[in-house]
Symmetry: C2
Amino acid sequence: MVKNIKLKIAYDGTGYHGWQTQPGKNTIQGTIEEAIYTVMKEMKQKINLTVSGRTDSGVHALGQIANFISDTNIPQDKIKIALNANLPNDIRILESEIVPMEFNSRFDAHDKTYMYQIYNDRVLSPFYSRYSCFVPSRLDFDKMEESLKCIIGSHDFKGFMATGSDVKTTVRTIYEAKLIYERPIIKLYITGSGFLYNMVRIIAGTLIDIGKGIKGSECMEEAIKTKDRTALGQTAVSRGLFLISVNYKKMLDM
Amino acid sequence: MVKNIKLKIAYDGTGYHGWQTQPGKNTIQGTIEEAIYTVMKEMKQKINLTVSGRTDSGVHALGQIANFISDTNIPQDKIKIALNANLPNDIRILESEIVPMEFNSRFDAHDKTYMYQIYNDRVLSPFYSRYSCFVPSRLDFDKMEESLKCIIGSHDFKGFMATGSDVKTTVRTIYEAKLIYERPIIKLYITGSGFLYNMVRIIAGTLIDIGKGIKGSECMEEAIKTKDRTALGQTAVSRGLFLISVNYKKMLDM
């Protein structure tokens, strides 16, 4: 019998060319699909992992969600164990679960939470060099915090997108955006209905520029009004970005 | 004028064959000595870094202390910056300081603190695979905690040493030993006058075996009495071990 299998996945993105399978490149999707092939040898059809959203090269995940269709007889809790036995240490299946056939990890996602990590000290700890953006200069935390308020709510975030992106609408809803200071680390947590290409990294880079005084704290509000990318700051490096969680509608909570 | 330069160093030991220089191998000492050569080209003599204590392959440090003699004219605070510019990201000089000529980072060390990290969950997070010992089975935290009490104080720790070690005395003083549970991570913090070869890893491995029920919580006490290594448990993997700090006598606090 055909089943729909949902996976909750954590990965250290350092060694990968992002999520999406690319010929001749080491990707998260490619590595997991290979493990599925190894574990479910009886499957004749091609496996295609659907994901809540692709992550870029170097981006990490604590709770990425993907799903795939399979006729495997492996019990749902054993799928996790079997896949982990065939995956490298930097990719781990945290949960495996059989879900209703109509569940789609991409289209059913209600909201996502990302975290962006800034290491703000004179010297970068060796334990954070793969997991943060290093900023040795002094940052004005209060100004950074103040500037974030205006992005809450539904807005046209056209200015907060890497140029050349092709999407139907650039309106997104941000439910929560907060900064937490755990000296010497500043963490940006942001929850939204979805994010445009590079949106979280543009917000993080702009916050850094505001903290440094290169940009004024009103520039986010201006970019929402003018939809102008140039009102904002740099796009912060990918290694500071973590996909924390993806939330779904009630359907899966039953 | 000849100066004595003290360095406080952090490193991720994953990619290194331990502290000590070995021909043809990537070591922490070798890498730092090379950076010193590059920065202090005027020095004609061979540099020899003295260290508070060597660390094994895979062991990490947050506050290793080393010192070397140099006739450099670089101001003390700039030495750190110059060295970091010539070191890989996984080794960082946190502080550089000119100290009295008689200071010796090895012989003047009064006490050291190590931390051993155990990741106790069903699945190992990709972000801890380089920095912990993974134990998926249930551990009895109370028994582990109880068993630690007996090691406080001055004892002959002959049974807590890797066989074949050559030391003058096997008596050491443990000032503090505590376990902290930050689910799913168990951290052992241990401060002592010094540690025998593999001593912290043997204590950590024995704690894991006590937690699992393979060893009784009285086995540490027994090993102190009998001086018998076989009373204790496994030697835990090096990647879970961190040298946290080294403390010196008042001399340096002036």
